[in-house]
């Protein structure tokens, strides 16, 4: 019942049917030895994208790897006339598929299936939006920042990484009028420590009436900590989860997140269709996938 209800809700949010774009790599920009931004030409797909949605990228036409890899859409790309021509992803090299994307050269064609999944709730009407990003968890916040800017919602980004050289694309967020708060675990830039340190302080210093909404994306431990802070300070919070995904379409049931049911129990929800964005309060955080 619960599943059905939320899926019905979903359909209302997700009118766009996914397409499989035979996307040309327009550019690949290396940000470090591990991180890069890959830009794809895919006008129809990109035009339909909403912040928080993802694409399933086929990193190899062969069998290594066999399955597609999920990536948040990072930027929506426009030509000089402002027409949407494609999108980019922020990719971190961690294994075989992300390595192929890291090495992708302009001109290559890559099959990208999307847009997929449930986006962030519309930020219109929000008093103030705080985004919390760890590592590649930055990705969904570029388009969200655009949308917030268009809606005139004050926006802030808490952005953490291991070290200063892994904080990327800050100018892009500053250009969008985002107030950026940085934290690094080794203290080389911004606050020393996890991104939740400045977040906790700022949450604590706001009156409960100030209407702050939280959006988080990053490592599981960070999401859990942000969810905890949101609960403690009584803030609405949405988190974008990153589970291993076999299909991205609801077909395989691999990508599950344990969520609460209205009846007080819990169930496994497919994060590719009911997520990747969930209300933090809906997730049963005790359980932790490997």
């Amino acid at each position: 019942m619960a599943e059905r209800a939320s899926q019905a809700g979903l359909q209302a949010i997700l009118p766009a049917m996914p397409v499989d774009a035979d996307a040309e790599v327009l550019a690949s920009t290396r940000l470090s030895d591990d991180y890069c931004v890959v830009a794809f030409r895919a006008p129809a797909l990109a035009a339909a994208i909403r912040p928080g949605q993802f694409v399933m990228v086929r990193t190899s036409a062969g069998n290594t790897p066999l399955l597609r890899r999920p990536y948040s859409v990072f930027e929506r790309l426009r030509d000089s006339n402002g027409e949407v021509i494609g999108f980019s992803i922020l990719n971190k090299r961690v294994g075989v598929g992300s390595r192929l994307l890291y090495d992708a050269a302009p001109g290559m064609r890559v099959s990208c299936l999307g847009p997929l999944g449930r986006p962030f709730s519309s930020a219109t009407g929000t008093t103030e939006a705080w985004m919390v990003a760890g590592g590649t968890g930055l990705a969904p916040f570029a388009t969200l920042s655009e949308e917030l800017a268009a809606a005139g919602v004050p926006r802030r980004l808490f952005y953490g990484a291991r070290t200063g050289s892994e904080l990327f694309c800050l100018d892009r967020f500053e250009r969008l009028g985002v107030n950026v708060v940085l934290a690094t675990e080794d203290g080389t830039r911004g606050e020393h420590g996890r991104v939740t340190v400045p977040l906790a302080r700022e949450l604590g210093s706001r009156p409960a009436s100030s209407g702050v909404v939280l959006y988080a994306c990053g490592p599981e431990a960070m999401l859990k900590a942000v969810a905890g802070l949101a609960e403690r300070y009584g803030r609405e919070c949405e988190v974008a989860t990153e589970r291993q995904m076999g299909c991205g379409m609801g077909g395989c049931y691999s990508c599950v997140v344990r969520v609460r049911t209205p009846e007080g129990g819990s169930r496994y929800a497919r994060s590719c269709v009911e997520g990747p964005v969930f209300r933090a309060a809906d997730i049963v955080w005790e359980e932790r996938p490997a």
Partner: protein, 308 residues
């Protein structure tokens, strides 16, 4: 050109079906595939009751394949009938329901319930799931149990009955034979191969369930062999699957003896595969002057052997 095939009393538009567990309950793919264009939609394995499934990680990728141990998370037969069947009927899908049980009574009860449901075209009897301890594969690895469960369900339903065989046995064709004797209208194979993968850094299994089922292109040569063996032995149709990812793979299974095929893992990789498979098969038929796709079944030409 005639792509239709016959599975017992059931006539399918074409030999292409979704494999159970790889296509959700069907509606998940309604936005990208016109469900009525598939030979059949075989839905995710259903127990009588809802099941939570195993904790993640539930899949792991392996060379040219994947392991899964979903644990048959599912909504149970009643919710399926109530919530999913109306939509599937509305889309004009030919629905085959994959049924699972831990006891013979559970199998027969699900079969009885589904027999009265409009739009259920056939039952696929899952006696081969490697991911649950109770039932499932324990029926499918033992000839006596296979005979019992197929006979019992046969008595419980007038629907076309398709036991799905496990490849984790010494001689799969003997299971096909027993299923035929027990009244099956067809057999489908293969389900996944019991397998495991270990993270050597943590020395832990990569799946929460320790073991899972291997599917995908990696297993295709074994699956083709098994389909060939079964098709030579039994007279009922054989539905082949295991690693199909192209029209050539569809044809390979049919030439080996399959009347129809199912596609699982490849649908994850490319949910738009269905049109490509169909047009690839048509193109082959045109090139080879084949009018009816069913003519292809079992036409393997072994030099020196007489054609069957």
């Amino acid at each position: 050109m005639d792509l239709s095939v016959r599975i017992g009393a059931l006539r399918l538009k074409n030999p292409l079906m979704s494999a159970s567990g790889c296509f959700g309950y069907g509606m998940e793919y309604a936005d990208v595939v016109d469900l009525s264009t598939l030979g059949a939609v075989v839905v995710k394995g259903l127990f009588l009751a809802e099941r939570p499934g195993h904790p993640p990680p539930r899949i792991v990728e392996t060379p040219a394949g994947m392991l899964n141990a979903i644990g048959l998370q599912g909504i149970g037969v009643h919710r399926f009938v109530r919530e999913k069947m109306p939509e599937l009927r509305a889309r004009g899908a030919t629905v085959i329901v994959n049924i699972c049980g831990t006891t013979i009574d559970e199998y027969t009860e699900i079969a009885r319930i589904l027999s009265d449901v409009e739009g259920v075209a056939a039952l696929e009897l899952n006696i081969s799931c490697p991911n649950i301890k109770e039932g499932g594969i324990s029926f499918g690895c033992n000839l006596v149990n296979t005979r019992q469960v197929v006979s019992a369900v046969r008595k419980a339903t007038p629907l076309p009955l398709i036991p799905k065989l496990t490849p984790n046995v010494t001689d799969v064709s003997s299971f096909a034979h027993v299923a035929e004797e027990a009244g099956a209208d067809a057999v489908s194979l293969v389900n996944t191969f019991l397998a495991m993968a270990i993270d050597v850094e943590t020395r832990r299994p990569r799946l929460s369930n320790v073991m899972g089922g291997l599917s995908g292109p990696a297993i295709r040569p074994i699956a083709v062999r098994m389909v060939y063996e079964c098709a030579r032995l039994v007279r009922i149709p054989v539905i082949g699957m295991g690693g199909i990812a192209s029209a050539a793979d569809v044809l390979e299974f049919m030439i080996a003896g399959a009347t129809a095929v199912q596609v699982g893992t490849a649908n994850f990789v490319d949910p738009f595969i269905w049109g490509k498979l169909e047009s690839g098969v048509r193109e082959y038929m045109r090139r080879h002057g084949i009018e009816r796709v069913s003519e292809l079944t079992g036409t393997l030409d072994i030099p020196g052997e007489k054609r069957a």
